[in-house]
Amino acid sequence: MKRLRLVRRNNESWLVKVAVPILSILLAILVGWIFLVLSGYDAAETYRRMIQGAFGSPYAISETIVKAIPLALTGLAVSVAFRMKLWNIGAEGQLYMGAFAAAGVVMFLGDWPSWLLLSVMLAAGFAAGAIWGLIPGALRAFWNVNETITTLLLNYVAIFWVSYLVFGPWKDPNAMGFPLAPRFPQAAYLPVIPGSRVHIGILVAVAVAVLLYIVMKYTRWGYEVRVTGESPEAARYAGMNVVRNILLVMLVSGGIAGMTGMIEVSGITHRLQQDISASYGYTGIIIAWLARLNPFTVLLVAFLFGALLVGGFGVQTYGIPYAIVLMLQGAVLFFLLAGDIMLKYRLTITRED
């Protein structure tokens, strides 16, 4: 009798590491192709427009980068926590709190010089996100409350808090009834590459990635985080301060997500409003996993996800319903995640008698 079995790979060769993701994307395209044809659309044209929408012109590429920035930052934020097996599902809420704090700084210190104002906004964004991460962090560290649930629930609190502000006390009287906070003064705008929307946040994302890489790999604290993530018992045995490390990790993770919120309001929307985030906090989780928590890979994967988002917009103008765009994005995701399993395991045929 022959059977198919998944066998764990002992080592991952470079060839496999490159071939599997490429094959995954090709399979996703194939599945999408069949689906598009069955739905009566021109598949080749759809894909052409999708690729063109994401990479076809300098403007397309710049838009892809614009989307990639928050995705990269939230991906980096959660990957810090995931290193220690702390399941921070709350980057979305931490992002909103960061945006709220940055907008608050602008409201009260709006006439400061730009460089100083932006620095304070970034610091406030980090601090607000950090506090939003520290609440579940403290619950977990001191009373062992499951952080997956608390971080998730705090997302709703943060999102509705921002909604409350823009519908209520912070609503701009000149916005003709729209739920928008007042537009920032120019001094609170992040500098951009002229002629595009790509802002200086890209440097922040790269800097955070470099910094995290070094901290995780080469500092005592990064070492403690990795040891604690692999085995909390060993960390305790080695006399590491697990409580302090949980708090610190959630602070850093929440802080990075909070900075993302600041960067989005200061670089893109230029005001506090609803829907600052297109679920960046959640997509960041997937990005962190696909990147195996490696900061540089997070940057790369975030860029691909940005392309997927922007390419999807491009197809909509061609008359393809948004639902189909979502389906295509879903197929790519599905195959990438499935491919991830093939990286860790290989399929073998065994014969038994």
């Binding site: 990795r226 040891v227 006399g239």
Partner: protein, 501 residues
Amino acid sequence: MKRVPVVEMIGINKWFPGVKANKNINFRVYPGEIHALLGENGAGKSTLMSILAGLYRPDSGTVKVKGQPLRLRSPRLALQAGIGMIHQHFRLVNNMTVAENVMLGAKGRVRIRTEEIEKRVRDLSEQFGLAVDPHAKVSHLSLGEQQRVEILKMLYRGCDTLILDEPTTVLTPQEVKDLFKTLRLMADQGKAVVLITHKLSEVMEIADYVTVLRRGEVVGSDHIHNLDEQTLTRMMVAREVIFPEFNRSHQLGPTVLAVSDLSVPNDRGRTAVRRANLELHEGEILAIAGVAGNGQRELVEALAGLRPVSAGSIRLQGKEISHLPIRERSEMGLTFIPEDRMGMGLVPNISVVENAMLRVYRYPENRRGLLLDYRTLEAYTYSLVDRYQIAVADIYHPVNYLSGGNLQKLLLGRELDLDPTVLVAAYPVRGLDVAATQAVYDLLLEQRQKGTAIMLVLEDLDDVFRIADRVAVMYNGEIKAVLNVSETDIDSIGALMLGVQ
């Protein structure tokens, strides 16, 4: 007339990644026989029986049940063939009653007749001397009683071959007696019993027939009447057991660690160590002996600082440490080798270097500015690898690739390198082969020579005689006696372990 074996395994081979667990094994069990499967840890006993119980599939070989070749592809199929296995960790549902557990998963009608099942459970318990109340909840039962439920489960399903994996480890001496009575009753009524064990005394007491495994191979198989303990030991370890005599100290050095009136709760908050008094001296090895679960684990964890104490004091060189955190204790020269080598002592999935530096990563000399100095740490790791002869392919490979013996050498080497004043180790040779055991003992004796006070929790009395200067016997959370090893013998320690006054 030739007797037909109830179970026959022919030419069984089983590989695990990197190890051959079973090599061309032939194994036969007859009805009415208690068959002991004897061997050291890692000899392949459990693997072989797991194949019989349908948990593993052999890479090659045949299994015959009552003369018929069968493919036992799942525990369910094995059960249908009448083969049941009782594992070291019970598979019971804690918040269900005994009767519910017994019928769980057994064949039956849609409608469950509770009274019928309870009656059948009661009949079976009487028939085989398995005293247990069918209405009781499993969570309220002692480990011995839970084991009886497991046996009942198998009998209820009509097993005629029962495999027990190290069944006595969790039992009190009285429970062991009861279990053996039950096993004898079962054999008398024509059932076959396979007893997996590494304890010679049990084999001599209960077995009719013995098969000895060593490193995955059958080294002998014979009727118990043709065997004695000496022969069996030789078969298990393949050499005359001559323990190198070492200079037992008759004069005690100064006291380094003093434990007085120490009480320690277990995980459930009950007292596991009761008013223990102990003194550990410079340059001695003190063994803690006892049946597993009599408080040894809690005692050493309390000394290490991994478990809070409820009363009493621990003094390290005169200084009270019972409320100090682990780190301060280790800075004062107390180091601990945990029972759980991979997971507590060593960190899985990270490299050998990163494991070697677990103690010293905080030292300023291993840092350059804010960053860890991997060049120094690398050199440090190589020095450990050399000095303690750890077989490592690449120090940047995850530790998971090391063998059990090398893992223990890495762990022990890392801790000994700190040149501790006091070394406390729980089961330092558990699961190691003969050569690795010897290596570990050599290291410990060498450290003792340097004046370190060493306390070892040991499970094997032979080991006590092989390495310890003194032995403290624990029973039911109390230290029953502290004896000089040279002035005592196995029988007296054994009696103390069983609580005999």
